[in-house]
Amino acid sequence: MSAVAEHDDHHDHHDDHDHGPAKGLLRWVITTNHKDIGTLYLLFALAMFFVGGSMAMVIRAELFEPGLQFVDPAFFNSMTTMHALVMVFGAVMPAFVGLANWQIPLMIGAADMALPRMNNMSFWMLVAGVLLLASTLFMEGGAPNGGWTLYPPLVLQPITVGKALPFAIFSVHLLGISSIMGAINIIATILNMRAPAMRLMDMPLFVWTWLITAFLLIAVMPVFAGAVTMLLTDKFFHTSFFNAAGGGDPVLYEHIFWFFGHPEVYIMILPTFGVASTIIPVFARKPLFGYASMVWATASIAFLSFIVWAHHMFTVGMPIAGELYFMYATMIIAVPTGVKVFNWTATMWKGAMTFETPMLFSIAFVVLFTMGGFTGLMMSIAPSDFQYHDTYFIVAHFHYTLVPASIFILMAAGYFWLPKWTGHMYNEKIGQLHFWLSVISVNILFFPQHFLGLAGMPRRIPDYAIQFADWNMISSIGGFIFGASQLLFLYIVYDTIKGGTGEKVTDEVWEDASKHGLEWTLPSPVPYHTWTTPPSAVPTEHVLDTH
């Protein structure tokens, strides 16, 4: 595909060329431009980050002291459920799709996503899904409060659902459609729209990780859709899928859910890896160490993610062979994950490093994600997991893998690419302040939860025995600081879009960045249309050792 034709639906031939965006608000509704849609995704995700964050603040406020303070238990449980659903499906996943929209075409030298109309639709499906989900907050009986995993039979009890259940289920369907359409688009773009000069093994790791993530999405979102569809029919159409009296089995739901759920956690972490692998070499001023091994590690993690799901169910009463199999299989994931951590470290080794905000967040990611990985490894030991399961230890584990990992890297990505997108430099002082506040408070927030969990404090409980009081209070204080610090990020995004420091950024933005990625060879701010003719050569600094 050489040149690119630009048209709108109605063939107005007089202005076929040099199309700017449509005027007014409508632009955002009907846009098919990958940058517009990327912006929509990112802003939506940011908004949801604060919605989900407020719910976390409610949780931490209630847990500040033992006893029931502010909210009633059912509402508390709604908050834990909705916090997870909003963060996973409304914030982290859309944020990465937003980055994919912005960056993949820029990085592979494509004029746009392969299927621009569908791109628009997947964004609006996301909004529709989140609207249905959020509407349950205002319903009789409140939002779902059986946990984000929606386990039957709990979630089918009238008391736990009120009127919310069908809305939550259809919300999952819409979010699933959105994700699948987004993923199909990403795969088609990567495989079909690359600049001719770019071979698969030349692609930046962000592109690679998204290619694999998109595959995971297409494989498992329908599985989740199927699972909740059976919840729906069990509740409203007399089926017995999860009802033992009729020959079904509630444990079957757990199997299906986690067959989706485990790959789902990798859907949130693989693009994280991709961004980290993009940022670290730039600030270490070295090529990424072990490009090919990074690609293979990503692929093996994705493959393994399909065969380890029951490590979430060690205490459910599986046959012993099952326990053993899932234990060893899970441990194996630590190998490719270790390869990655090693490679990031080796990339920094003897590098001429500087510590701008994106790099700070990335380094914190490497360290703190590794902690989350280690607790994961602890929990993969089935007999030990009998102690950890459903306690705050797990809460600590997955928050380490998600907050100082996925969320930190999303922040890093914001600092890294915002200057490119807007042409303005963010305020480095505030950025550094944001980083230090975040990295300290996130540890005050989550580290004590390890102790709480080991001491036996169960998760998803609004009240607790007094021996847990001290660490909970400390954790809550960390939580409030962390929550408040994120307002700085909001300010920085706003400020940078409005002009930032006023300093004019260069096309490269970061020293020698154009050696690392195609996007840095474009002007800053990036024009509305880019790569209408594909670049003739691509940077290969990052793949030096594979050629």
Binding site: A114, P166, L174, I184, F236, G248, L252, I256
Partner: protein
């Protein structure tokens, strides 16, 4: 002007947001309906109408663009990839229900009739298949045999796969009549299939006591065959659109993505049926 060598990138799109709104209204309506709210069915109807308008509008637009030569080879590849991965996601969706059938037949039902469960909870229960569970959920029922209507339906769908391929050969050889006849036969066989399945369901509900509520056997039976039947309907609608377009003279031997997509989808539905016939009816 567009040329055949450029990758076509549309500039704005109004149908996606309309379709999304339609689907959302429809689903919100369905949820309200399930909650016993009176506005539910009206919302569903409104949503459905919006959704259908979107489908007609969007497909008309695509057909127009395709016929005016706006899609080059690259666009064709993107569309084919899109369809392929969409079918892949459908396979995953059906996989859940086949997996459920496997799990319940081979694991949960035997567990219910053995060990501690049998000793303490359900001492009278003999685990067999088909079953509606130890609670005799849904009351007495007769299982669905394989060699009546289901076998006829197997033959129907298999022959529809043949007619579909025959139509494709016609299209490739520019034998328009063969194309149209083949498509018409495929749609006809598909509709016949749906009709027979409706008869089968009717018999199940009225004479055999077999319903969606007949324990795990009824649940898996109707869920699997029901979703499949729904897909046959969708496939038949897509094929009718392709038939309609063929009658209007659309498609060329070297450019007929819509036909291919419809055919792939139809073959997919066909293969799912074979799985159903073996695992739901025969075994």
């Amino acid at each position: 002007m567009s040329t055949n060598t450029a990758y076509y990138i549309p500039h704005k799109a109004t149908w996606p947001v309309i379709g999304t709104a339609g689907l959302m209204i429809m689903l919100a309506g369905f949820a309200n309906y399930l909650n016993g709210s009176s506005i539910g069915s009206t919302m569903m109807l409104i949503g459905l109408i919006i959704f259908i308008v979107m489908l007609v509008g969007w497909f008309t637009l695509q057909a127009k663009e395709s016929e005016s030569g706006m899609y080059n080879h690259g666009v064709g590849i993107s569309y084919r990839m899109g369809m392929m991965w969409f079918i892949f996601s459908e396979i995953a969706f059906f996989g859940v229900f086949f997996g459920t059938l496997w799990y319940t037949r081979n694991l949960s039902v035997p567990w219910l009739g053995s060990g501690a469960t049998k000793e303490i909870l359900y001492s009278a229960y003999q685990s067999t298949w088909p079953t509606n569970g130890p609670g005799n959920v849904g009351g007495h029922f007769e299982p669905m045999g394989a060699w009546g209507l289901p076998f006829v339906n197997t033959l129907l769908l298999l022959s529809s796969g043949v007619t579909c391929t025959w139509a494709h050969h016609g299209l490739l050889a520019n034998h328009r009549e063969q194309l149209i006849k083949g498509l018409a036969a495929t749609v006809f066989l598909g509709l016949l299939f749906v009709g027979f399945q409706a008869m089968e369901y009717h018999e199940a509900y009225t004479e055999m006591g077999l319903t969606l509520g007949s324990g795990i056997y009824g649940s898996t039976f109707f869920m699997l065959t029901g979703f499949h039947g729904f897909h046959v309907c969708v496939g038949a609608i897509i094929l009718s659109v392709v038939l309609f377009r063929s009658a209007k003279g659309h498609f060329k031997p070297e450019n007929h993505f819509a036909f291919e997509a419809a055919a792939w989808y139809w073959h997919f539905v066909d293969v799912v049926w074979l799985g159903l016939f073996i695992f739901v009816y025969l075994m």
